[in-house]
């Protein structure tokens, strides 16, 4: 009978065959690496290596198989699709490995003591990271209090008011600020406060100032992008109702962009919460819990992790505390992200577009 031109004259590879190919590639790859292991060439079994080889093997196998059975177009499709999935899988490896390693290392000291005690008078085991947690929370909060208003207002100026040379100059300077190495920001804050408060000054607020230098450009950039996304028609609708420009910005533009702005701010906070170098200079290092931002040295979690690792005593107590510090830092960022997600959901414009 007549076969229409668009009918698929070729056979297709079934799902079972596809998965069989996946299994075969994995098996071959694992076998290869196990062999290397037994032969004594490799000392341990290389999981990442075997994954990479398995993916490559699968790409070759499925492409060739598909070219034979399904034809060139389908084969190309399978080739590209597999590459994409493979790239994603590879990108996930370091992330998952990082999280798993931190959890395994950190769970040992993830106890009540870690959250309730500082390192004051602790020599070996025991002690905790309370001072560092307090430091991180306070310094980051202070940096946010400085940066978020400045950043958002700058972005509002750039999008809503700025024209000509001044706006271009600000945009350029913001771009330059994005590239400032964090240690320079720390040195700047240290030099600034040393000038006014005497040499060798170390206190929490100084760290917040250093961090806000790093945070402001990120807030400006992300807020700017979000404000640009607000349709011009909404501004016009508001002007046409006889609403002045500043009220339009405050009550129409910002609420419409708020969920994106929050996301940007949280990304900016996540960017600075892990900073170590500038805080080591301007906040210093202490084993005591210091609640006062304005006086005395203050340790933050990244600095705590660094110093625990750098000045290990005998035994594993310091290393264990360092892992737990890292784990707590990751958890804080995670919680921040969750809160931001919820806030964005609640505040986002409702209904269909």
């Amino acid at each position: 009978m007549d076969t229409p031109a668009y009918a698929n004259s070729r056979r297709t590879i079934s799902r079972t065959t596809t998965w069989a190919t996946v299994g075969l590639s994995a098996l071959l790859s694992v076998a290869l690496f196990a062999l290397l292991n037994f032969a004594g060439i490799a000392r341990t079994f290389d999981w990442v290596g075997s994954l990479v080889v398995a993916i490559l093997l699968y790409v070759v196998l499925i492409s060739v198989l598909s070219a034979i059975v399904e034809g060139r177009r389908k084969s190309t499709d399978r080739f590209i699709t597999t590459i994409l999935y493979g790239a994603f899988a590879l990108a996930m490896v370091p992330l998952i490995s990082l999280i798993v390693t931190t959890i395994i290392g950190g769970i040992k000291r993830f106890d009540l003591q870690f959250f309730s005690e500082s390192m004051r008078n602790v020599v070996d085991a025991g002690g905790g990271g309370l001072h560092a947690i307090v430091g991180t929370l306070e310094v980051t909060a202070a940096a946010s209090v400085i940066s978020i208003p400045i950043g958002i207002l700058t972005a509002v100026y750039l999008v809503e008011y700025g024209q000509g040379k001044l706006a271009r100059a600000i945009t350029f300077l913001v771009d330059v600020m994005t590239g400032i190495p964090s240690i320079v920001a720390g040195l700047f804050a240290f030099a600034l406060f040393s000038m006014f408060l005497g040499p060798g000054i170390r206190f929490g607020l100084g760290g917040a100032v250093a961090l806000s230098l790093l945070m402001i450009p990120v807030v400006v950039r992300s807020t700017e992008e979000m404000l640009k996304l607000v349709p011009h028609e909404l501004r016009e609708a508001s002007y046409a109702l006889g609403v002045p420009k500043w009220l339009t910005i405050l009550k129409v533009v910002l609420p419409t962009a708020i969920s994106g702005i929050i996301t940007g701010v949280v990304i900016a906070i996540s960017r600075i919460i892990g900073e170590t170098a500038p805080l080591l200079i301007i906040c210093g290092l202490t084993d005591t819990t210091n609640y006062n931002l304005f006086q005395g040295r203050m340790t933050t979690l990244p600095v705590f992790v660094y110093s625990s690792y750098a000045n290990q005593g005998t035994g594993t107590a310091d290393i264990d505390r360092a892992w737990t510090g890292a784990l707590v830092l990751i958890l804080i960022v995670l919680i921040l992200n969750l809160v931001a997600r919820i806030l964005s959901k609640v505040l986002a414009p409702k209904g269909s577009r």
Partner: protein, 259 residues
């Protein structure tokens, strides 16, 4: 309230570019005036000069005068923000505020200006405005739902309700039906007919049938070519413009022989 608009020798510029040249016309209160003409002929630009909305774009300015009941809109002591409270505007694409409910959208003109009012007064405004825009029956049970959840035609009527809620004297409409289906268009046209008894309405439209259906007066704008300023070619009663235009270009345009 409804007011007379008188335009004298108006030129509109965007920076160095002259967009509209030498327009003079008078719009009577309680009438519907339609602006027709090809795309880019400056009719929307001209419409926006009637409530100083063109100034929203950087570099835009006008020469000449626009009088609303004898007061020049472009006098030195005039605040464009206050002008826009007197002269409302409805845009081409429905643009309800996505962050607000239907109720808040209607009250936007009041609320955004930080005016305090009792709940009863607010309810009153919401109901009369939505009834005025023929939307009340459809939305009265879901006033707290977001305005962006309505259909396109409903959204446009919501925008009209929002515009009339601030009780303007004049209502400008910039192609209010071009994004709507015929049924919604009919609803808006009926609405224009009703609103005419209270407001001076000026409407820009690409739809010649619409102009002939809804308007009392029609103004035809045209441009000589790209980069040239738009000009008012002919202005008169709609029946005259559509049946016996005096200028050849008008006749060509309305009979579809244009270009």
């Amino acid at each position: 309230m409804s007011k007379r608009i008188e335009v004298r020798d108006l030129n509109v510029y965007y920076g160095k570019f002259k967009a509209v040249e030498d327009v003079s016309l008078t719009i009577e209160p309680r009438t519907v005036t339609a602006f027709i003409g090809p795309s880019g002929c400056g009719k929307s630009t001209f419409l926006r000069t009637l409530n100083r909305m063109h100034e929203v774009l950087p570099g835009a300015y006008v020469e000449g005068q626009v009088f609303i009941d004898g007061h020049n809109l472009y006098a030195d002591n005039v605040d464009p923000v206050l002008v826009r409270r007197q002269v409302g505007m409805v845009f081409q694409r429905p643009n309800p505020f996505p962050t607000m409910s239907i109720r808040d959208n209607v009250l936007a003109g009041v609320k955004l200006n930080n005016t305090r009012m009792s709940k009863d007064a607010a309810d009153e405004i919401v109901e009369t405005s939505l009834k005025g825009a023929n939307l009340w029956k459809e939305v009265k049970d879901r006033l707290d739902k977001p305005g962006s959840g309505l259909s396109g035609g409903q959204q446009q009527r919501l925008c009209i309700a929002r515009a009339i809620a601030v009780k303007p004297d004049v209502l400008l409409m910039d192609e209010p039906c071009s994004a709507l289906d015929p049924i919604s268009t009919l609803a808006i046209e009926d609405l224009i007919e009703e609103l005419k008894s209270e407001y001076t309405i000026v409407i820009v439209t690409h739809n010649m049938q619409q102009a002939s259906r809804v308007s009392d007066m029609t103004a035809f704008f045209n441009i000589a070519g790209t980069g040239e300023p738009g000009k008012l070619i002919e202005y008169g009663e709609t029946t005259t413009i559509f049946r016996n235009p005096t200028v050849k270009a008008t006749e060509d345009y309305i009979s579809g022989r244009f270009g």
